[in-house]
């Protein structure tokens, strides 16, 4: 029991140690690769063990420095955290394997692997922390390292977009800090569980809702929801394809994770207002994201707009705010991280093999690189929501949850968006993979490039085929989320 509690720090400390080891052995790239992959695989192993441990409802908690809760910084892992940790490690492993094959030497020398691991440290820390200021710290670790990953390579476009990304994120981080200050001013605590109790006690006070909306703006910017998503499509298109895959798969979902955490734990005093607002925002995000995607002719940009649209679905699960909708939302997030990662890896492979991502220049890739097309096809229809892939079960349970609670409008919207999702996937498939092969393609071996994406797609299929098991897991996560007293009791012990 206590052993697992104390080991909760591992997902944060392991990547840190890995990064330190890389910094200490400058210039030895082979060694760096070995360190990175060992670290990520250990993380994966640990998160699976943790998932097995929390599955039955135990919530391991520890307080850094053995300080008394709620004064110390708390780490806690419920099923949702453990699931997110696991899927994050899976995507990180896939992206890392892809990086080994495609990363150029200059980027590797400048510490790509170290910053990769530090991003993972920030991500894992955000999933585990039970303290809102500590959350800010982990977010900053993640963001600062992601600025570096984004600008590594220093292309003209890259620097322009990383500058935008940086300014917007610094702005929202400042607002985050302001929000934390307000919250501390009102409640006098920063511990999430303690906050939940204190905010409950202040029920009916208008300023709690104001603070809730402030946090919605902050994490909405980071998660790219309507109307704060404008920065995403360009900045996810410019970096190295492996970095795009990591960002596209993982980073925005950290924002979504935090929205799930705080809008199920802390800001639940006025759901009639806040969660309805979330639903409206979710619908707008879905629709505008997919409209953006439909008109794109650049593969990664199209996929980036897709991210936005998919974020809408996740927020929809949160906005409906029932046990089954939260479960569906959790399932959707996990499915989306895997599939989005796979799609970005395929797009990256296309870019690596042909040197372009412009759909107008491509065509007939299926004839030259059949496996690439097949993997893209499977990932694409999984995203659009066809059985037996994970996307079907995620969307199906989300619709079902919406219908159960009588939110017909948003269900209708999300169904419409699904059709457009399918359409835009078919658009990529038709332009890039279908038709006669372009004569300038070179026959290259590409098996090692698509293998990571293939693994992610296989996992998506496995999630679909093992839907019963996956759904039970996310249902358990959903009911834990809906009842904040479980989390509060685990942390505060009362």
């Amino acid at each position: 029991m206590t052993v697992m509690n104390n080991l909760l720090i591992l997902p944060v400390v392991l990547p840190l140690l890995g990064a330190i080891a890389i910094f200490l052995t400058r210039g030895r790239i082979q060694l760096h690769r070995a360190i990175a992959i060992v670290t990520v695989l250990t993380m994966l192993l640990f998160s699976i063990i943790l998932l097995g441990y929390v599955k039955e409802g135990a919530i391991p908690v520890f307080s850094a420095g053995d300080w008394e809760i709620p004064y110390g910084i708390v780490f806690a892992a419920d099923i949702f955290s453990a699931l997110m940790l696991t899927v994050a490690s899976i995507v990180a492993t896939a992206v890392l394997l892809f990086s080994f094959k495609t990363m150029d030497e200059a980027r590797e020398k400048y510490g790509y692997y170290a910053f990769f691991l530090l991003v993972m440290m920030g991500v894992n820390g955000s999933f585990l922390t039970g303290d809102i200021f500590n959350l800010y710290v982990f977010f900053e670790i993640m963001l600062i390292c992601s600025y570096i990953l984004l600008s590594l390579g220093s292309g003209k476009e890259q620097l322009r977009e990383s500058f935008k990304f940086m300014v917007i994120n610094m702005l929202s981080s400042t607002l985050f800090l302001v929000g934390v200050a307000f919250l501390y001013g009102v409640t006098g605590t920063l511990n999430l569980a303690d906050l939940a109790v204190k905010v409950q006690a202040a029920q009916g006070e208008g300023f709690i809702t104001v603070i809730a909306v402030l946090f919605l703006v902050v994490f909405g910017t980071k998660a790219a929801i309507f109307p704060l998503y404008f920065w995403l499509p360009d900045s996810y298109r410019v970096p190295h394809p492996a970095v795009s895959a990591l960002f596209g798969g993982l980073l925005t979902k950290v924002g979504v994770y935090v929205l799930y955490r705080i809008f199920t734990l802390v800001f639940i005093t006025d759901p009639g207002y806040t969660h309805t607002l979330l639903l409206v925002v979710a619908a707008a995000t879905m629709v505008l994201g997919i409209i953006g995607a439909v008109f794109q002719m650049d593969m990664r940009k199209l996929l980036s707009y897709h991210i936005i649209s998919q974020i809408g679905y996740m927020i929809m699960g949160l906005g409906i705010f029932t046990s089954s909708s939260l479960a569906a939302g959790v399932l959707f997030i996990i499915h989306n991280i895997l599939v989005k990662g796979a799609l970005f890896l395929v797009a990256g492979t296309v870019k690596h093999l042909t040197g372009t991502e412009n759909l107008k220049e491509l065509g007939g890739l299926l004839q030259v690189y059949p496996w690439l097309g097949i993997i893209f096809f499977f990932a694409g229809i999984s995203l659009a929501g066809a059985p037996p892939f994970s996307g079907f079960f995620a969307k199906y349970s989300l619709m079902l949850a919406g219908l159960e609670s009588g939110r017909y409008v948003i269900v209708a919207v999300s169904l419409g968006v699904s059709i457009l999702t399918l359409f835009s996937m078919m658009k990529i498939f038709q332009y890039a993979f279908w038709g006669a092969a372009q004569d300038w393609y070179e026959q290259k071996s590409y098996g090692h490039l698509v293998a990571p994406a293939a693994v992610l797609v296989v996992l998506s299929v496995a999630m679909g085929l093992g839907a019963q098991w996956m759904y039970e897991l996310s249902a358990a996560a959903g009911s834990q989320l809906l009842d904040p007293s479980i989390y509060i009791k685990a942390v505060l012990g009362a």
Binding site: V3, N6, I9, V13, L17, F23, F62, A64, G65, D66
Partner: protein, 137 residues
């Protein structure tokens, strides 16, 4: 541009600031001060040296690779945090006690000081790396 006054004054003041920064470092775990502020102050003395005598002299007097401070400091801090795990305590738990030193008398020690020392190294490393990149290249 060299200034005689700055050169003379900084040769004296430098040590005072440096000693004060160590003082801040040592008391930081339970009084105002700590690795971060001490690191900044130490870097300030190095920058003073740099301004007064120029980059060449700085390298002669302090032939240190400040960039290497960063990972070493991080490592010290991270390991200090991890040691308590072996004893079944949470991450970062600090042990402390009292020791009787010949000249200084009874002092309190805490493993948090080691953590602070790691922070100190990181801060000095980062600040000096930034200064040298901006100032020399």
């Amino acid at each position: 541009m060299k200034s005689f006054i700055l050169e003379t004054v900084s040769k004296v003041v430098l040590f005072v600031i440096l000693i004060f920064s160590f003082y801040l470092l040592l008391r930081g775990h339970n009084a105002p001060g700590g690795g971060f502020i001490a690191g900044l102050m130490t870097s300030a003395t190095f920058i003073l040296l740099y301004l007064a005598l120029g980059p060449g002299a700085r390298k002669q007097i302090l032939p240190l690779n400040f960039r290497a401070f960063i990972p070493v400091g991080l490592l010290i801090s991270a390991l200090t945090g991890l040691v308590p795990l072996a004893g079944g305590k949470p991450f970062l738990t600090s042990a402390f006690g009292y020791a009787d030193l010949p000249v200084f008398g009874e002092i309190e020690w805490a493993t948090a000081m080691l953590f602070d020392f790691g922070v100190y190294l990181v801060v000095v490393g980062v600040t000096m790396s930034i200064i040298s990149v901006l100032g020399e290249e």
